[in-house]
């Protein structure tokens, strides 16, 4: 491997492997008149080269990683977070434990007193991973006979997998005879921001001091908003921002991974847009919200349209492949797609079976998602997907598609390789 100075950026950012380094050392020694290729493996000299090349390769990896972290497109992980903080002046959103409040109603005569973290409760509805989230009391409490008490709770694990909708947390793992539990409001946490999202946040933040209302400042305001009740980052991962009129209206629709939006998240987004993005004279809509007596323009929650055609997928698979595994992979792939920004509010512009262009969710796009999902199983290839029912669905600018495809509407037909 030859270096020609100055080095290209690609060379600077690509670490040298230990094999490359060892070969470079062998070439150099050969130039010096030695014959390192003839040195006995395991001998002192050969071992020196091997050990040195491994250590130097590790150093090369560190150098390249440090250089990569200097630029938004190439920085990753913790380096990207440092760049976000020190270069762009952002505080990267961190994953949080779902937290909220639980109402305990003591219908009996018992007296219950617990220190922080001593009482456990659980949701009766499993999350997308099939886990029933559990929660502990984050402050001590004493529940007297025939008393109703609202206590703060926190999930035992981090991220949105610990979220619970109102009324889901009703199980008492810690026994309290005669006590009924329920959460009146959602209990919400947040995941770490994926690298691509943090990169976009960094770019959006460039305009955060602009008073002229460019598009990116609205995105920045939504992404950095916090729930007005819990203070946690809003669970919003998609938004559409459009010029709503010719007289200074900006229309915004938002939604979370499941297509819905918590009203307090929505209010948080509205407040942040008001504080950071909206120039004087501009109207943010289509809704309004009143916070602390002030009425301000607010985005609207996107309305959901359930996409639920019948689908049969034909899959070429290795012998012994279980159809249920394929179905599970396909359903997981669809769930992830419909919850992601790849499925934007208002859909995408494409053509239906009659070559008519419109915005929406399309059979062709869903087939691509199924192909990727099936390919995650070793040796499996999607041969075709047949849809029944409405498979190309138009969406309004205010609508987002959610999946209604279930194990009873997604069938799998396997063709075994070599059969």
């Amino acid at each position: 491997m030859a270096f020609i100075l100055p080095l290209t950026v690609q060379q600077l950012l690509t670490p040298l492997t230990k094999d490359q380094i060892r070969q470079m050392m062998v070439d150099a020694l050969t130039t010096l008149g030695l014959q390192p290729n003839n040195w006995a493996p395991g001998g002192v000299a050969s071992s020196l080269l091997t050990v040195a090349s491994e250590r130097l390769a590790s150093l090369s990896t560190d150098v390249s990683a440090a250089l990569s972290d200097q630029w938004n497109p190439t920085a990753t992980g913790p380096g990207l977070e440092l760049l976000s903080y020190y270069f762009y002046g952002n505080i990267p959103p961190q994953p949080t434990f779902a937290s909220g409040f639980l109402t305990l109603t003591n219908t009996g005569g018992g007296l219950f007193s617990y220190g922080a973290g001593q009482a456990l409760f659980a949701s009766t509805v499993a999350n997308s991973r099939g886990v029933f989230p559990t929660y502990y009391n984050s402050a001590s409490f004493t529940l007297n006979p025939h008393q109703t008490l609202i206590i703060p709770i926190t999930c035992t694990f981090v991220g949105t997998a610990g979220n619970s909708a109102p009324g889901f947390i009703t199980q008492l793992i810690t026994s309290m005879l005669g006590v009924v539990a329920s959460n009146a409001n959602p209990v919400l946490g947040a995941d770490a921001l994926p690298d691509d999202d943090l990169r976009q946040l960094n770019l959006d933040s460039i305009a955060k001091n602009s008073v002229f209302g460019p598009r990116s400042i609205y995105s920045y305001a939504i992404r950095t908003a916090t729930n007005i009740v819990t203070g946690a980052p809003v669970n919003i991962n998609r938004w559409s921002i459009t010029t709503g009129s010719h007289i200074g209206d900006v229309t915004i629709y938002v939604c979370g991974p499941d297509g819905s939006t918590d009203s307090n998240d929505l209010a948080g987004a509205a407040l942040n847009i008001e504080n950071l993005a909206r120039p004087e004279g501009i109207t943010v809509g289509p809704n309004t919200v009143t916070i602390a007596g002030n009425t301000i323009g607010s985005p609207a929650a996107a309305s959901t349209v359930t996409y639920s055609p019948g689908i049969t997928i034909y899959v070429l698979a290795p012998k012994g492949t279980n159809a249920t595994d394929v179905q599970t992979a396909a359903l997981n792939g669809l769930d992830n797609f419909f919850a992601s920004p790849a499925n934007p509010i208002g859909g995408i512009i494409a053509s239906d079976d009659t070559n008519t262009n419109f915005r929406g969710i399309f059979e062709s796009g869903v087939t691509g998602v199924l192909a990727q999902a099936v390919a995650t199983l070793p040796g499996c290839v999607l041969l075709s997907a047949r849809f029944t029912g409405v498979s190309d669905v138009a969406l309004l600018a205010s609508q987002v598609a959610v999946t209604g495809i279930t194990s009873s509407t997604l069938s799998v037909a396997l063709q075994f390789q070599g059969a």
Partner: protein
């Protein structure tokens, strides 16, 4: 103020090794192989030092290797112009905070387009003012070819007679006069040839990359509330000029649609198709 000097790389590891090893020892039989191995390890170490040093230089926009400018641009939301020198782009990259704080301002929008296009043309953003009586007027913000920016209020009558239909609603002319968030972008002259001579109904040869770049620049640098009615490439410097609003070929209030009915009842082109090419951004 002098420009800070770039760091230097200093003495190499191989030089350091040689300086601490006596010559007689280097030539001592049996030691020579060990010294050679140590020397090659230092050689690789020097390569890594070179990478680290050049990598540090690469983080300085303007002093960096040209291929690092792309990463700097992508990190700062700036696009190097078609014919922009590396030095000029480096200067723009270093001023990214100031520029970024002005995103959404008409003057910056005009300058971004001007700096992208290879011929650095005069670019004008015309924003309608909501004057409901008297002659319709607009604010003309001009990025001049000498780098200055000027602002003038002058007559501008696009559709006060014809009215206009966006992708949702039809508006009559008097209503359109109140559309203060409407804007037009004018580039003169267009750097791309019009097919053949400048005659009506011939197209404009625009590379796809440039087309996408300009639409993206407009989307990034305009205020979100601004509804861009048209991006116009004028091959006549006298058109859309605030000093000559009455010039023949300028908008006359009937440009809301591509066509109009003339005095003889014939359907004719409403807009100037001889000297101007129009891009109509979807949804403004």
């Amino acid at each position: 103020m002098p420009i800070p000097a770039l760091p230097t790389i200093g003495r190499s590891l191989r030089e350091g090794l040689a300086s601490v090893t006596p010559t007689w020892l280097i030539n001592l039989p049996g030691f020579r192989n060990l010294y050679s191995v140590a020397w090659t390890i230092c050689l690789i170490g020097d390569c890594l030092r070179e990478i680290a040093w050049e990598g540090q230089i690469a983080t300085y926009p303007g002093a960096c290797q040209p291929d690092a400018l792309v990463l700097h641009g992508q990190s700062r939301g700036l696009l190097q112009g078609e014919a922009e020198s590396n030095d000029h782009f480096g200067a723009r990259l270093r001023a990214w905070r100031v520029t970024g704080n002005q995103q959404g301002k008409q003057a910056i929008l005009a300058q971004q387009i001007q700096q992208y296009l290879g011929n650095n043309p005069l670019v004008r953003v015309i924003q309608r003012l909501p004057i409901l009586s008297g002659p319709p007027v607009a604010m003309y913000v001009t990025a001049n070819t000498d780098g200055t920016v000027s602002e003038t209020i002058a007559n501008w009558d696009w559709d006060s007679i014809s009215g206009y239909t966006d992708d949702v609603t039809t508006y009559v002319g008097p209503v359109c006069r109140g559309f203060w968030a409407d804007a037009w972008i004018v580039v003169y002259p267009g750097e791309w040839s019009i097919a053949g001579l400048i005659t009506p109904l011939t197209g404009q040869r625009v590379p796809v990359v440039a087309h996408e770049a300009i639409l993206n620049l407009v989307a990034q640098w305009k205020g979100e509330h601004i509804f861009v009615r048209a991006i116009m490439f004028s091959y006549n410097a006298l058109l859309f000029d605030p000093t000559t609003p009455g010039h023949a070929g300028n908008p006359d209030g009937t440009w809301g649609y591509w066509h109009k009915i003339d005095n003889s009842g014939n359907v004719v082109a409403a807009r100037n198709l001889t000297d101007v090419r129009y891009w109509i951004p979807a949804h403004g």
